[in-house]
Symmetry: C2
């Protein structure tokens, strides 16, 4: 029995998110069905974490155990033969027995793409969140600075989640702008449910001069979800990479 | 009666190209149907030129005459209410009576995006042409240099076309690489049928060391389509802008 790590790129449009569910067209379910086809085994895979419906990934990671004789690096090729458009395994390798895509993760990086334009993008439609609001990226970056470090991010967690601890460390958070696309990048040792999307919603209000960037400190300290802004839509979000 | 110019962005995936055709889901047809809905007029629009099925545009241009009282700059907003996903009017304005999107064009710019990777892109699937070939961008750029200037580009025209003259001037042609995406940009005073895609097919063979870049001179001089390489696929091509 080998332990295999796969790295998965997917376009979340049209899928019901990562996590396996009854009657759901989820990315986990589809990959498990493809694994059954190529190995004959009913394999359960463990992802590094869930992504919601509409959220994309450049580098989601999953791991699984298999008795198959397929060489570890060939799983990517074999799975890609079976997977539908929108899901691609970009790498596969053998990992130590105790490797687990979720529990072994040291950090994760997300990006969020904002299309700052009067009209939606015809070409990148489901791949960017479009808003016509005036956004000052310098104000957004001042808001970002307050996110870095170890904080209780309870204000940036959707209700209904039952995380044991809401303390996380953010290593990096910043916005860059290229033409009319603003890309927010954030990395940290873990993220609460909807944390990135609520942070983005809040940064948008800072960029639009509705909330002062230095208010970020008070929003964090309040531990009050009501003080942060509404959750930004799923389709601008990408799980960029997971580091082990 | 006013003459209106519109700039159109579209994702060519799923459409039957630009040009109106019987029973075809073409971008021209769809825009004309939307114009009928908002003006009550049966309007024929003139595009700057055709694009094939699967080809995208950031800045296709069309013009049309209308007696409608809709303010010129509001056509974009009104049309976008009616247009399906994948087609967006990014601007509209009144232009002089003698303006014609095709005949008044001074230059056009196309870009072609190559995804140089072992596997297809899950996220940008229909927006990039994926190839696992080793491509040396320096060799491709040496090939590009020979394209610049006034030449007879007959070798780069698909048969079946009946252009009066096959002489065109290329103003700019070069490749850039960002991570594993190679972007080829070309501008000129006009392009023959499939000219950009045949040039790209040829540059790919130069990048892959199958054709010496300096052979570009002989391929042009030969006026022989057989000496150029096969046509690159439609879905990597974008009509980027038209200048008047």
């Amino acid at each position: 029995v080998k332990n295999i790590k796969i790295v998965i790129e997917y376009n979340g449009t049209g899928f019901s998110g990562w996590q396996s569910q009854k009657n759901g067209l989820t990315i986990q379910d589809i990959i498990e069905q493809s694994l059954l086809k190529i190995t004959g085994e009913n394999i359960r895979i463990s992802g590094s974490g869930r992504t919601d419906a509409g959220v994309h990934a450049f580098g989601q990671v999953a791991s699984f155990k298999t008795g198959s004789s397929i060489p570890p690096e060939k799983f990517a090729y074999a799975l890609n033969q079976k997977l539908p458009e929108g899901i691609v395994i970009v790498g596969s390798e053998k990992v130590p027995e105790d490797f687990h895509a979720r529990f072994s993760a040291k950090s994760k990086e997300y990006i969020y793409k904002i299309y700052n334009s009067k009209f939606p993008s015809a070409i990148y439609n489901n791949l960017l969140f479009q808003t016509p609001l005036n956004l000052n990226i310098d104000l957004m970056n001042r808001g970002c600075e307050h996110l870095i470090g170890v904080h209780d991010f309870k204000s940036f967690m959707s209700s209904g989640s039952n995380a044991e601890s809401t303390v996380r460390e953010v290593f990096y958070a910043a916005c860059t702008k290229c033409e009319n696309i603003i890309t927010f990048t954030i990395s940290g040792n873990g993220f609460l449910y909807n944390m990135v999307r609520i942070i983005v919603g809040t940064l948008i209000q800072m960029g639009n001069e509705k909330i002062d960037p230095d208010e970020m400190i008070n929003i964090i300290l309040s531990q009050d979800r009501e003080l942060a802004a509404p959750t930004a839509p799923a389709h601008g979000l990408y799980l960029n990479k997971v580091t082990y």
